[in-house]
Symmetry: D2
């Protein structure tokens, strides 16, 4: 009954998922790991009862004890592992991005539809966040009329030393890209990237913050502030503007303190604090679906493809300063709902 | 057309009202002042165009240029000035308390009803505060069902050096006493005073905070925290609990700041900041009513009497630790609505 | 490594815990159940892989496959099962109340301390709620100075048809009783119960709402509104008043809707919605501690005893209308921290 | 001592200011009115004690009883009255816009600087709103670091039947144009206007909502949603994003209602409710300054000119869909602070 999971890539994010699968969630067990750093894989395996380490991801995928695969390696390697899992007929959860190029994503879609069953889920965890789900419910309920705009902010306290302007797109904005496609059940048609006055906390040569304008097929206009060094906290904002009302993510806090002439509540300090539960739910639902012999119900290969295509357009838009139309392949029937 | 006003007592509160009548509000003018400190009265008068100083309040009341009187002297002197104004047939606005004893209040009611017209308004400004008015509207609308309880807090940052436990009743709680009578259109039947753990910021011998339980005739139970030295701000809280919902004063702030892992808003730092607009509206409505030859529409002599009677009971309850029934005279027909 | 758990009593709450242990949490497995309704126990067992049903709780406790016991039967039967588990040297999680009389609780303490190891944890889940933990952190941090008062409200939308005034104490207030003991690390010295105006939604003969005053040993005064039929939602409020500030449970909501001249957020509709995560954490921590061969870290038999003793006093106070002193046995050394 | 005021134009807004000057504020009196509708002017005058009606604005300005002039006529007539007031050496408060063309504004600046004294104040009331002032204080305090962006929303429940896309700029956005110049003490360098999906509540042919991007000289990027038919209320939002924090206008409400599974607060229903106090303060400060023989301290002719120039650019940007650079004349020394 327990889903036997193999994890390819046991760096920071891989280890966090192993902790989650082992200590937090129900119904799954990590039975195999692999990593480009073999020693690290061996060490992790030895700390988990009944867990083997493999030298390669392909070996892990081939292991008959492995029912399902989690890929958390460096982005450019995602394609080969996802393709191998599809070939082996094993469900694979792949952290974002599905692949780093549109062509690679197309090869994955091709293989998956050729296999004739949904095997791939991409790790866009916001779809599993309770507040985003409530946001979608409110939009779908029609209580604010048709959606016309959405205002987003993606604020991080401090960027890593190797942060680049492109990473603002591929690592940060990518979440809003997937989110608005899911929220409005629509594709992104065009994108613009503006560069406001720069934050002096940010290293030389990096454009921070950015202000991104996303046009959906329906005409809904989404604006996203991406601030990578805003210091005060990790703050993810979103407000959907409809014809007759709005709905927004709330500022939540456990307690309100009154002291020194102010009341105050807490802002999350990092993405972990903000989205830890979304990751838990993402994986629990994935396990539950697979255990019930249902296909994974999260973001598909098509979603992974579309996100990569939009990110490409956004990078181009950032470079040129112009509005960039997003060119998407025709959506394969296999991915129609 | 301009209401010519005489102010008896030009200490801090009197001067603040003079500023309000002169620099903020419309339709009134201070034409005469008096004070037990004659020099102070003369100085104030000389700074106001067309303003005379009188040696006594009685003289001021008799001044034919004075249309209406404001009494802001020391509490024990209120009775004589209010009675003199009634005798002169002039409207009189008297700061709380109307008088310091129930007997004095009864003499005032007697004189006023004898005069056959409403001349007295008592200075309970909370009835003019926009948020308390919205609270009353919500209660009266029936949207929360019948009111069953109310939770109040009356928090001050720092008590004056001469603060006493009795002043927690006569200067602070007195506002909630009047407020709940007005809010629920009911009389107070009994009162208890409890003494929680003491605040070490408060001087020796003073009971602070207090926790007061007020029973209304209808059975509504009101609890009031009175904290005189809570440091963080001047915070007036109130939540009415009904059969199917609640309504509460909101925490308001001009702006919300996000910084250092917290969002925060401002708490008022003193009663002036919190109630300055209530005082303005209180006086503007008083002026407007008198200018339109209508009787004053604010708290009446009966309200002043009832507040004094309840405060007496609360002081007794505080001394004994027991529940104290409030004994009220029969409400004169003259004060029935 | 997996903790093998036996559940005695598989009514509504028992089934919910089985779901939690089976589908949500990590590290535990339900291997045995029993119930006074044998058929129900059999049916539940048959739906769980590798789960046996026993005819009696004693049998279940004796089952060598059972590592730890969860008791969720009718309150009056708790004592016998807890004592049996202690005798068998097995850890036992007992839903509140530990036992329905002080004497029964004393017998349990006696047995447990005689056994020489902590085996019992009582199901007061609020200690595991994230917002209450943040409240305690804030109080312990000293940021609001010494705590002087706490204002609580325990509001439920609709009482069960068999609801009685006593159940307001034993089923509702019991949570605040345990909570404030834990929050302030202090015992309750006395209690009063007041009866405000009654809610017409409540059945004849039941006192609802209640207003309870709890005095802690340190002098901290806690007031608790218990409203059983307030319709609008399940709303648990708490504000600690310190010498220089306050800290309160926040009103949380996933999203804020703006529509029809109002902004609005959601209030939980029942205790499940409000405390579901607290139950999860309560059991996960219990499992994790036992799996690590540590004693349970939650509420002890002494906590169960104290809660029962205070509830007894509160019922007496409700009957008489008077302040009732709580008489506690001397705390056994075994339960000193 | 009383400032004698003449009001040119007694339509809706003129009458509201007359009410304000007569019934709310201190220190001013309306002594003369004029209107293109002579009968209306006569009727208004006859209802005010000591007030004359004039056939033309010029006549009113020439009236020796008039100390200061308020212009609330149709925009295209503002220039002539403001110029006439300057010529007469009388202070003039002109409702927005100062004039409808940049050339007209330049003629006014020329006349005023020629006169050698500040006589003109333009009616941008947001500078007098308490929450915007708190926003500016927070920005100026440096607590959020240097400002980098600002997100604004200007939402109205229902546009007038004659509403046009241009009015979104000239009547609505004009307030944000002035506001951000004042808030950041900077000029606007360029503007873009985007057209999101249209609101089906809005009449055919009108672009609603709009999304406007404003670049300040310093690089600060301001985005403004202008929604003219959003039904739910009149909601003015603003959040300044700094290098290390943000500060935003708060959602204020008098009371919070809990009912039907939600808590809720009120959103203003129209601009009057939202800004009534700002108008009061705007005029009180204008009166106080003039009464003290100080120049008006509010928005100057230069501010009026700049707002008109930016509005022109925004209309052009809306028509073309392109970014439009704002061309401003050199700021005359006369208007340097």
């Amino acid at each position: 009954m327990t889903l036997r999971i193999g994890v390819i890539g046991v760096g920071m994010i891989g280890q966090d998922h192993i902790r989650r699968l082992t200590e937090v969630l129900s119904g799954g067990r990590v039975v195999a790991v692999s990593d480009v750093d073999h020693d690290r894989a061996r060490k992790i395996a030895s700390a988990l009862p009944g867990c083997t380490s493999h030298v390669t991801g392909e070996e892990l995928i081939a292991d008959p004890n492995v029912d399902a695969v989690v890929v958390t390696t460096w982005g450019p390697t995602h394609e080969e592992f996802v393709l191998a899992a599809i070939e082996a007929g094993k469900p694979v959860f792949c952290e974002k991005p599905l692949a780093t190029t549109r062509e690679a994503c197309e090869r994955i879609m091709s293989a998956e539809s050729g296999a004739g069953q949904r095997l791939v889920q991409v790790g866009f965890m916001r779809r599993f966040d309770a507040s985003y789900r409530a946001l979608k419910d409110a939009v779908d309920s029609g209580r604010i009329g048709a959606a016309l705009m959405m205002h987003c902010a993606h604020r991080m306290p401090e960027a890593a030393p190797n942060y680049t302007s492109e990473m603002a797109i591929t690592d940060c904005l990518i979440h809003e890209i997937d989110l608005v496609r899911w929220l409005f059940n629509d594709e992104i048609a065009a994108v613009r990237v503006l560069k406001p006055r720069g934050n002096s906390n940010t290293q030389e040569g990096v454009d921070d913050p950015l202000f991104v304008l996303i046009e959906l097929g329906s005409g809904i206009l989404v604006d996203v502030e991406v601030s990578a060094n805003i210091r005060y906290g990790y703050d993810i904002r979103g407000e959907v503007v409809g014809e007759s009302g709005t709905v927004a993510l709330a500022d939540n806090t456990d307690v309100v303190l009154k002291q020194g002439a102010h009341y105050s509540g807490r802002v999350p300090s990092d993405w972990r604090e903000r989205f830890i539960r979304a990751y838990d739910i993402e994986f629990q639902e994935w396990i539950d679906n697979l255990a019930a012999n249902k296909p994974p119900a999260g973001p598909t290969s098509w979603d992974g493809y579309a996100a990569t295509a939009v990110a490409d357009a956004a990078i181009e838009a950032m470079r040129t300063g112009n509005r960039k139309t997003v060119m998407l392949a025709t959506k394969p029937d296999f991915y129609q709902d």
